[in-house]
């Protein structure tokens, strides 16, 4: 499903070269739930961005869903991203659209036939327990609800891979548990999950395979 082979990523900040990842290698099998953890600035977000080709590696090879990402064309990137759901620490919901419209928007821009949009959007909303809030605007949602809506948007196309970058970072314990519960349900449905968190306690509580990053290096792969 995912393969990193000696991947390094260096950012050029003016004349300064800032290494974000150094010589990282690992594999994730289909249907796995992998937790990526490490302190802030360890390279978690960079690693996730490499997964959906928001960044290119400086060195090394990456394969996601059977596709080598290094030489992917623009349309290849589009196809890849249609197979990958992404959620962030902030939900990134579109403020001028209702929860339903936020989810339908993704289906519309990726060419889903109009007759199927409503059914699929509500199916995703039911999966995250937000059907009743479909007509609410993002400003009317709690942070937990907003993150659940973002999750619905991320999996509405039944993507085989879900990438979650600090999905509980701004949530209290109860809301975080709720969101993690939904992510586990999604995983239980067959979706491969890569979840990044800097909260080591949370990472431990998930009891899944854990990759630990420190200063851009993969220092531990356990579980």
């Amino acid at each position: 499903m995912i393969e990193f082979h000696r991947v390094s990523k260096v950012y050029d900040v003016g004349p300064v070269r800032v290494p974000a990842l150094t010589d990282v290698s690992f594999r994730v099998s289909k249907g796995e739930f992998v937790v990526l953890t490490g302190p802030t600035g360890a390279g978690k977000t960079t690693l996730l961005r490499l997964l959906y080709r928001d960044e290119r590696p400086t060195e090394g090879e990456i394969e996601v869903l059977g596709q080598p990402l290094t030489a992917l064309s623009r349309s290849g990137v589009q196809r890849l991203r249609r197979s990958v759901g992404v959620v962030f620490e902030d939900a990134k919901l579109l403020p001028g659209r209702t929860v339903y419209e936020n989810i339908a928007f993704v289906l519309r821009v990726t060419g889903t036939p109009r007759r199927k949009i409503t059914a699929r959007a509500f199916e995703a909303l039911r999966a995250v327990g937000l059907s009743a809030r479909a007509q609410a605007y993002p400003t009317q949602l709690s942070r937990g609800e907003a993150q659940r809506a973002a999750l619905a948007r991320a999996v509405v196309r039944k993507q085989p891979l879900l990438i979650a970058d600090e999905p509980t970072g701004t949530l209290d314990d109860a809301m975080a548990a709720e969101v993690l519960g939904i992510i586990k349900d999604i995983w239980a449905g067959g979706t491969t999950v890569v979840l990044a968190t800097h909260q080591s306690r949370l990472a431990a509580s998930l009891r899944r395979r854990t990759l630990v990053l420190e200063a851009g290096r993969l220092v531990k792969d356990e579980g």
């Binding site: 959906y52 928001d54 623009r74 349309s75 990137v77 589009q78 196809r79 890849l80 991203r81 249609r82 197979s83 992404v86 990134k92 579109l94 403020p95 928007f105 993704v106 519309r108 821009v109 990726t110 060419g111 109009r114 196309r157």
Partner: protein, 295 residues
Amino acid sequence: MLGFVFGEAMRDLRRAGRVAVSAVVLISLSLVAAGAFWLLSTNLGRAAADWRERVRIIVYLKREPPEHEVSALVARVRELPEVADARYVGKAEALTALKRVLGKDAAVAEQLPSNPLPASIQVTPTAAAATPDGARGLIERLEGLPEAEQVEGGVEWIERLAHWRRLLESIGLGVGAVLALAAILTVTTSTTLVLHVRRHETEIMRLVGASEAAIRLPLLLQGLIQGLLGAWFALLALWLGHHLAAPYLEPLMSLTIGLPRLEFFPPIGMLTLLGAGAGLGAIGGWLARGRRGAV
């Protein structure tokens, strides 16, 4: 997808608000300016073409040739490459024509002891020869005929008309181009504004793998809609201007350049203006895409 693109374009137009309205107004102004000059130059062009068709060069003959020599003389003139047609006018026919022109004063001609009018050949030059240089060359050839006494005719004033037409076209193009540039910049600004407002949507669209067409076509379409609206208003303003001004201008034009009717654009001209407006808007939308394409 078409419904989505159109829906997003309309949403973007509403977001651009006053800037979009400014763009429409500027496109209208640029097309009104260019269109007005175009309309004038088209009508002047019609007058010039009409006059060119009526250009005649008269070869006055030294003496009236005997009847059996006339057809050979006319044939020799017709053989010249710059001649489209030639017609012999005998002394008697010339006098009849004079009497017709004199009308009720025709009796004056009756008083003449003899017919003083010379026989002549009326030469119609080809289109290529109906220019100052062409006409000069033809006149020189006709003056070379042994039977010719004097050759009269010229096309300089028609060329002056054509020159005015070209001048009007240039002014129209110049003014229109400056305003068109302003219009393109305004559309670009309004589209850039929209791009800024919708940057989160663009981010999400790229994140979920939306095609470039889904991301960019609404921008292009909203520019195109602004352009079409501007062109439509310009056409309306031009039609109204023509409708109101024509009754006052037509007598003047008829008197000065013999143009009895100031015509409005034919359907193809109107389509060209609409196309120009759509093009201006689309260019504006496209340029904005270029500036913020990587959002």
